[in-house]
């Protein structure tokens, strides 16, 4: 019963968040310079044609009316229409979300496994070679800007070595570089968290007590200490899922990956009003939903947490 109440309240908060995002997104695309209609129509369009188009797109209405029309539409499940691409926004997002999700799943899987294994190895060998290496690696990994990394990788693996395609979405080879760029920063962060968690937990009394019951080191590392060490990691990974599903505008644009991020970059460039608004709204929705799911999941992982 308590959990139902909690979820209902959180959904209430989510609604408020999304409302805020919708206002900001709506305002931003209108503040941005450039007339969407002029960008949409051919250069030699006449004044009348422009006016007719503005009328058709509802841009002549007062701003508030435009906003409420848009919100009313969204509440009915219609995310709007892209005049530029001549498709409904829902349809566009559905296509792109699939591509972004593909990348997100791959990224999540490799970065999580890599980070946790590295973190455990570093945590149980604190101060030794593997620990020093992993901490240096994560320092570099967190400091490098994904944009720079993406360009350097293209230079090395595509231009110099010719191993990987520079862009495209056909075949698994195309996913390697975007996935590495998207996941590296998160992977090294999770590795650090796991390492610290592991090292802290191993010095706890209850680990000595577990060992005093005859449990082997391997069993302690893989089960009795790991569960404690991974608690903070769950939060970080969960929070990242939302971001990954929202897509990375920069990385997807560099590698021409036909996902949400690339669509957003295009939409902004073309002042595709409703598409930008709805993309931002959907991204915000996925991030809040992921956060909510993590918080609920957390109560199952850590029995001390109670939802109130």
């Amino acid at each position: 019963m308590r959990i139902v109440k909690y979820i209902l309240r959180r959904i209430g908060f989510m609604a408020v968040t999304l409302l805020g995002v919708s206002i900001i997104a709506f305002a931003l695309v209108r503040i941005a310079p450039g007339n969407p209609v002029e960008l949409l129509l051919p250069e030699d369009a006449t004044e009348e044609q422009i006016n007719a188009m503005e009328e058709r797109m509802g841009l002549n209405d007062p701003v508030l009316v435009q906003y409420f029309k848009y919100i009313g539409q969204v509440l009915k499940g219609d995310l709007g229409y892209s005049y530029r691409l001549n498709k409904s926004v829902s349809q566009l997002i559905a296509e792109r979300l699939l591509q972004t999700a593909k990348l997100a799943v791959i990224t999540l899987v490799w970065s999580t496994i890599f980070a946790i294994v590295l973190g455990i190895l570093a945590g149980i060998n604190r101060g030794k070679g593997i620990d020093v290496f992993s901490m240096m690696f994560s320092l570099v990994g967190q400091s490098v800007a994904p944009v720079w990394l993406a360009l350097m990788m293209i230079l090395l693996f595509s231009v110099k070595l010719g191993w990987l395609p520079t862009n495209g979405s056909s075949g698994w080879q195309c996913m390697i570089m975007p996935s590495l760029c998207n996941g590296l920063a998160q992977a090294v962060l999770v590795a650090r968290l796991t390492r610290t968690g592991m090292a802290d937990v191993l010095s706890e009394d209850y680990i000595t007590a577990t060992r005093a019951r005859g449990i082997s080191k391997m069993k302690v590392y893989s089960k009795y200490a790991l569960k404690n060490a991974l608690l903070p990691v769950v939060t970080i990974i969960g929070a990242r899922i939302g971001h990954l599903l929202a897509g990375s505008a920069v990385i997807e644009s560099i590698f021409v990956w036909p996902g949400m991020g690339q669509l957003l970059t295009q939409a902004i460039g073309q002042r595709d009003l409703q598409l930008v608004q709805s993309l931002l709204l959907v991204s915000a929705f996925m991030i809040s939903l992921a956060n909510l799911l993590v918080d609920i999941l957390y109560t199952f992982v850590d029995p001390r947490i109670q939802l109130t």
Partner: protein
């Protein structure tokens, strides 16, 4: 009497960041089968280090045995592999920890934590049998069986210590080491826990090492007592002899520092000075800087343990005559 554990001339060091602490400095101690031994001394005397050394659980890369030997049934534990020690820990020798609030894993149910030790040493038991045995153990320490599914944070301190005791006794060990099991508990709960330990020790006839700085607990529970100072045993014998014919001035000081319930009210006597700094030990008798009966010899030569009687030994050049 059969010897269970024999500790011979044991030296243990803790090395942290270039600093070396000499936790044990030539400890000699014998634990006999079926016997209850009290281990007393101030904080930092090396009591817990002794316990962890027996189990070979000194903190990794920090605690090192530099000299001496510990034998269990005549076999050295220092040469055993971790797997072989694992078969002993929890099954033959088990331990109850000082702080029940930190010695249970917060993210596993108490049932899982009791079943873990049962399963480790009886791998053939199936899930239901494990659960039944764990439930029996909980009832043995006075907790209702249905609470197996609860997590440690749902228990009070005293109850958590009962869980710790249940887990320690799960495989009916030959030796139970209780490291100040009541220090973190309030007085009424202390009495309950001690009562429980006394009862269970007799029921499953295990040997007991009771680590404490509470001399009352020693006289209540133990037959023998070893007094530790600066990582050495400085007086050892039957509780009766050590408490009535006290020979070492440190033990004498400890006993005098106890408030008396009868007679006129007096100012409490304390031992002057403070516990030795284990990073910089004094030469000779480690207690000499605090001792009122110190001689030149005490400052340079370390006194060996000598017999006062068959069952009473002391390490002091100027032993007190009772």
């Amino acid at each position: 009497m059969e010897e269970l554990i024999k500790i011979k001339d044991l030296f243990v060091e803790y090395r942290v960041g270039g600093v070396v602490s000499n936790a044990l400095n030539g400890l000699n101690l014998t634990i006999n089968k079926g016997e209850a031994l009290g281990l007393v001394g101030e904080s930092g005397a090396g009591k817990t280090t002794t316990a962890l050394s027996i189990l070979q659980l000194l903190p990794q890369d920090v605690g090192f045995i530099t000299n001496g030997d510990i034998t269990y049934h005549g076999e050295s534990v220092l040469t055993k592999t971790d797997k072989e020690m694992g078969d002993i820990r929890g099954a033959k020798i088990s331990m109850v920890f000082q702080n029940p609030l930190t010695s249970l894993n917060p993210v596993f149910t108490v049932g899982e934590q009791i079943e873990m030790v049962l399963h480790r040493h009886n791998p053939k038991l199936n899930k239901n049998e494990l659960k039944k045995r764990a439930g029996d153990l909980l009832e043995m320490v006075g907790i209702a069986r249905y609470r197996l599914a609860d997590y440690p944070h749902q228990f009070s301190g005293g109850m958590r210590q009962r869980v710790g005791i249940a887990a320690a006794l799960a495989c009916t060990p030959e030796l139970l080491i209780a490291d100040e099991p009541t220090t973190a508990l309030d007085v009424t709960i202390q009495a309950q826990i001690l009562e429980l330990m006394k009862k269970l020790q007799h029921e499953i006839s295990t040997s007991l090492v009771m680590i404490t700085h509470n001399l009352g607990i020693i006289s209540e529970l133990c037959e023998k007592v070893a007094v530790m100072y600066a990582g050495q045993v400085i007086e050892y014998g039957t509780v009766k002899e050590v408490f009535t014919k006290t020979a070492h001035w440190y033990t004498y000081g400890l006993l005098n520092a106890m408030p008396k319930l009868s007679g006129e009210r007096e100012r409490l006597v304390s031992i002057p000075g403070s516990v030795v700094n284990s990073e910089n030990l004094p030469s000779g008798c480690k207690f000499h800087p605090r001792c009122a009966h110190c001689t030149e010899r005490c400052k340079t030569e370390t006194p060996p343990l000598v017999n006062m009687s068959e069952t009473h030994q002391v390490a002091c050049w100027e032993a007190r005559k009772a």
